[in-house]
């Protein structure tokens, strides 16, 4: 990191001045989404635009390239090199697209046209803008090697590349016409942490090597701290605070900035905690293996996994996508009767069981899912959702009793006063509230073991803390055992009593957060730890 960029450059390469954006809704109303935003970017500078979902950060950078949909109205100025490029609408922005300002989108998966090769799509950009005439092929190869893609990638189709490779190819395409400014919208959100780290390093390196100014839009303060020099914090369409990343981290002026930093887990700050006194095991997994019949050979999704979760203990199963953590969870739920090994929940087997036994198992184990926006049936009120498990297991005598238990469950997940929430529909709840309702639906049956599948990964940072704290409380108060699977080692380290790291279907490491973070035994764990961007800009990895 070289914080050499002057804070007040002679002339900004890109400047947004008093940008306002309205969206017309179907019923004709206009919502002001961006409210008089001003921002300036010096040549070669890297600026982080941080905010939670719906704060207007993506809208802002789309407006800078004139890419808003037809129901948007824009006022203000977007100055590129001192010239207002949006003054004539779409027509005047177009000549600046890709040649001066390029963009990297969030979902690399769908940014490429699936029916053309990567090389074709990069060449197209060169040809349209008449750059590198006659040497397009060489330029494409140069670009691909610049982002670290192997030779021959230009002949491949987008679906033949992994997520990380695709994002690299997207960056290569963005750099094709040697732009001065790169706008990157959550460029690493869909990627695993190790790949995310590589892509961020690549962006920083390219920015330094090519003198490229960068606006990095993200919700993750760690990403900004590690790759940007300056940052602006957005909320409700406005910039609340702006400064160097150091300033924001050391002495945030706005309380919202402080909340954001406090909610961002910092793995370096994990300390030794007192071990909970030994309790009887609720879940005992022993020698679990799961095989899926593949083409030709069978694929082992999980091999020989053993661990335990005790009463009143929160265990985190950490690993990247495809490591087998979800499969393990399904086996515990009794959804994979063909798995081998043994899984005992409260003494009862979860493998090789029949329907009736699985039903009994479900009363003891409940599950929380990742996506709070989809985990509730939109046609069901909160009451319907909470009473459904009671109806399924016929545990209550009458409506009144069911309602009482639903109310009690709402209270226990912190939605108080419960009467205020019980008759609402999901669309009347926020993301965090929905996740709490989903948790409450798991609690009405008073299960002994709670399985949580990435319970906060789709929630905004400032809401995550509350939900995680709720899980920690349930563990203490109700003496529940909780098995949480997550890709995020830093979250796990902050809340779990024990961490199990999985890779390629095997457990590579397990121990208390303190042990795993500070004295990892496996190089893979070390790699994971090193890849996590720290919110402290001073601590580079």
């Amino acid at each position: 990191m070289t914080p050499t960029t002057p804070t007040h450059p002679a002339r900004a390469v890109l400047e947004l001045r008093d940008l306002r954006i309205w969206f017309r809704t179907d019923d004709g109303a206009e919502n002001e989404t961006v409210k008089g935003l001003s921002l300036s970017l010096a040549p070669g500078e890297r600026l982080g635009l941080v905010g939670e979902s719906g704060c207007g950060k993506t809208t802002t950078i789309l407006a800078a390239l004139g890419l808003l949909p037809a129901n948007a109205t824009v006022s203000g100025h977007v100055l590129y090199d001192g010239v207002d490029i949006i003054a004539g609408g779409d027509r005047t922005v177009r000549p600046h697209r890709w040649t001066d300002i390029a963009m990297v989108f969030q979902g690399a998966m769908s940014a490429f046209n699936p029916v053309h090769t990567v090389g074709w799509q990069i060449t197209e950009a060169l040809q349209v803008h008449r750059r590198f005439v006659g040497s397009e092929e060489a330029r494409v190869q140069e670009l691909l090697s610049l982002v670290g893609l192997p030779e021959g990638t230009e002949h491949r189709f987008p679906h033949e590349l992994s997520g990380g490779m695709k994002q690299r190819a997207v960056i290569a395409m963005a750099l094709a016409c040697e732009p001065k400014v790169l706008l990157a919208d959550e460029p690493t959100t869909a990627l695993d942490v190790v790949v995310q780290d590589q892509i961020l390093r690549l962006l920083v390196e390219l920015s330094e090597r090519l003198g490229l100014a960068l606006i990095l839009v993200t919700h993750d303060l760690g990403v900004v701290a590690q790759s940007c020099t300056r940052a602006a914090v957005m909320r409700g369409g406005e910039i609340l605070e702006e400064g160097t990343v150091e300033q924001l981290y050391r002495s945030p002026a706005h309380p919202y900035t402080r909340t954001l930093f406090e909610s961002t887990p910092d793995i370096a700050q994990v300390g030794a905690r007192p071990r909970p006194e030994p309790a009887p095991a609720l879940l005992a997994v022993d020698g679990l293996s799961v095989e899926y019949p593949g083409r030709g050979a069978t694929r082992r999704a999980v091999s020989d996994v053993s661990f335990q979760v005790a009463e009143g203990e929160l265990v985190a199963l950490v690993g990247q996508s495809g490591c087998g953590k979800t499969t393990t969870l399904q086996a515990v739920m009794g959804m994979l009767p063909g798995a081998s090994g043994s899984v005992l929940v409260d003494g009862a087997p979860a493998l090789g069981i029949r329907r009736a036994e699985r039903r009994r198992l479900r009363e003891r184990v409940q599950m929380i899912f990742q996506d709070p926006y989809e985990s509730l049936d939109v046609r069901f009120t909160v009451a319907d959702t909470l009473e459904e498990p009671l109806l399924v297991f016929k545990v209550c005598r009458d409506r009144a009793e069911r309602r009482d238990r639903a109310l009690a469950a709402l209270e226990s997940v912190g939605l108080t006063p419960a009467e205020q929430y019980i008759d609402r529909y999901p669309h009347q709840l926020s993301g965090g509230q929905r996740q709490r309702v989903a948790i409450a639906a798991g609690l009405v049956l008073h299960p002994a073991l709670l399985l949580a599948d990435e319970p906060v990964s789709m929630l905004d940072v400032s809401v995550r803390t509350g939900v995680l704290q709720l899980l920690a409380d349930l563990k203490e108060r109700e003496r529940m055992g909780i098995l949480m699977i997550t890709h995020d080692l830093s979250t796990a380290a902050e809340y779990a009593d024990r961490i199990i790291v999985m890779r390629d279907g095997r457990i590579v490491e397990s121990g208390t957060p303190d042990e795993v973070v500070h004295r990892p035994g496996d190089p893979y764990t070390q790699l994971l730890i090193d890849s996590i961007p720290s919110p402290d800009p001073a601590r580079t990895t």
Partner: protein, 320 residues
């Protein structure tokens, strides 16, 4: 490699479908209660000798599975039986009819495809414009009129101007090949126009919505960010990608080509396969009915198969 496997699978599917159709044919005519061939007694104008001959030919006095094998053997040797109506082999009757149908159906379908796809694209890229509204509303109207209704209306409207029945004028003395060609062409106009009008609307609506769907894809936004012009995005992205679903949808709409062709041949007395089917129904000529069903089904399966191959060629992702 994926592509090769895909092509194999579609080939096998096509073959199995033909086999299913063949078997269905057998079941419909022999096994179902009240099925046709077993009621030899209902064959019109049949002499006892013919009835005996038929019983022997179909093996009606043998068990069902033997009849089935006999039937399959007949198919493979191109023997579909003898038409009750004109005592000619069904295969010969059908070959003539098929040759007559081809020019009508091919011309009509190609015109309908060309107009439908072109106007569908224009309509989609001008979504919401007056042009779009006129195009979609007119198409919905043409989609809604029954084929036979459109055909009859054209007949009434062009009575005396264009020939209304048959493939050529049997009474005219046409010396030069050129005059014959003009005569045949004139006979084609109304049937082809009817077919094209009934089919283009469906193609237009299919193409329009496929293009609209691609315009919502994320790579269109990337293309705009790349600074591509609207025209280029439409040509290289929207239309190109919209062809994928369109190929499949249009292949599935082949059924309407068939029903359109049958009705049109009846209305314009076109001696094609549809009319042969109609006559077979009128005269309860079961061998012809059976043969016609088989020929049409196999043709549709073949065109579907060609569409599958086109899809594999258009989409690099084909793997599943």
């Amino acid at each position: 490699m994926h592509r090769r496997r895909y092509v194999w699978r579609r080939t096998i599917f096509a073959i199995v479908t033909v086999f299913v159709a063949v078997t269905l044919n057998f079941v419909l005519f022999r096994v179902l209660p009240g099925s046709a061939v077993t009621r030899i007694s209902r064959v019109p104008n049949a002499s006892p000798e013919l009835k005996q001959a038929l019983t022997r030919e179909f093996g009606l006095d043998r068990p069902m599975w033997e009849q089935y094998l006999l039937y399959l053997k007949g198919l493979f040797t191109g023997n579909l039986g003898v038409s009750y109506a004109n005592r000619q082999p069904v295969t010969a009757n059908l070959a003539d009819a098929f040759a007559n149908t081809l020019p009508l159906v091919l011309t009509g379908t190609v015109i309908a495809l060309a107009i439908g796809i072109l106007l569908g694209i224009l309509s989609a890229v001008r979504r919401g414009s007056p042009f779009d509204h006129v195009m979609t509303n007119v198409s919905v109207a043409f989609y809604a009129f029954p084929t036979q209704f459109l055909g009859m209306m054209l007949l009434i409207a062009f009575a005396g101007l264009l020939p209304s029945a048959g493939m050529s004028d049997p009474f005219a003395e046409l010396a030069t090949p050129w005059e014959q060609f003009v005569d045949r062409g004139a006979h084609l106009v109304l049937p082809v126009a009817t077919l094209a009008l009934t089919l283009y609307a469906e193609n237009l609506l299919i193409m329009r919505s496929s293009v609209l769907e691609t315009l919502g894809e994320d790579y269109i936004l990337t293309a705009r960010a790349k600074g591509l012009s609207r025209g280029r995005i439409i040509r290289a992205y929207a239309v190109r990608n919209a062809m994928l679903p369109t190929v499949t949808m249009i292949a599935l709409a082949l059924g309407s080509v068939v029903s359109g062709a049958i009705l049109i041949e009846v209305i314009f007395s076109w001696p094609g396969i549809g009319r042969a089917l109609y006559e077979a129904v009128l005269h309860r000529d079961y061998p012809m009915l059976q043969g016609g069903f088989l020929v049409i089904t196999i043709t549709v399966v073949v065109f579907n198969y060609l569409a599958d191959l086109a899809y594999a060629w258009l989409d690099p992702r084909v793997s599943d």
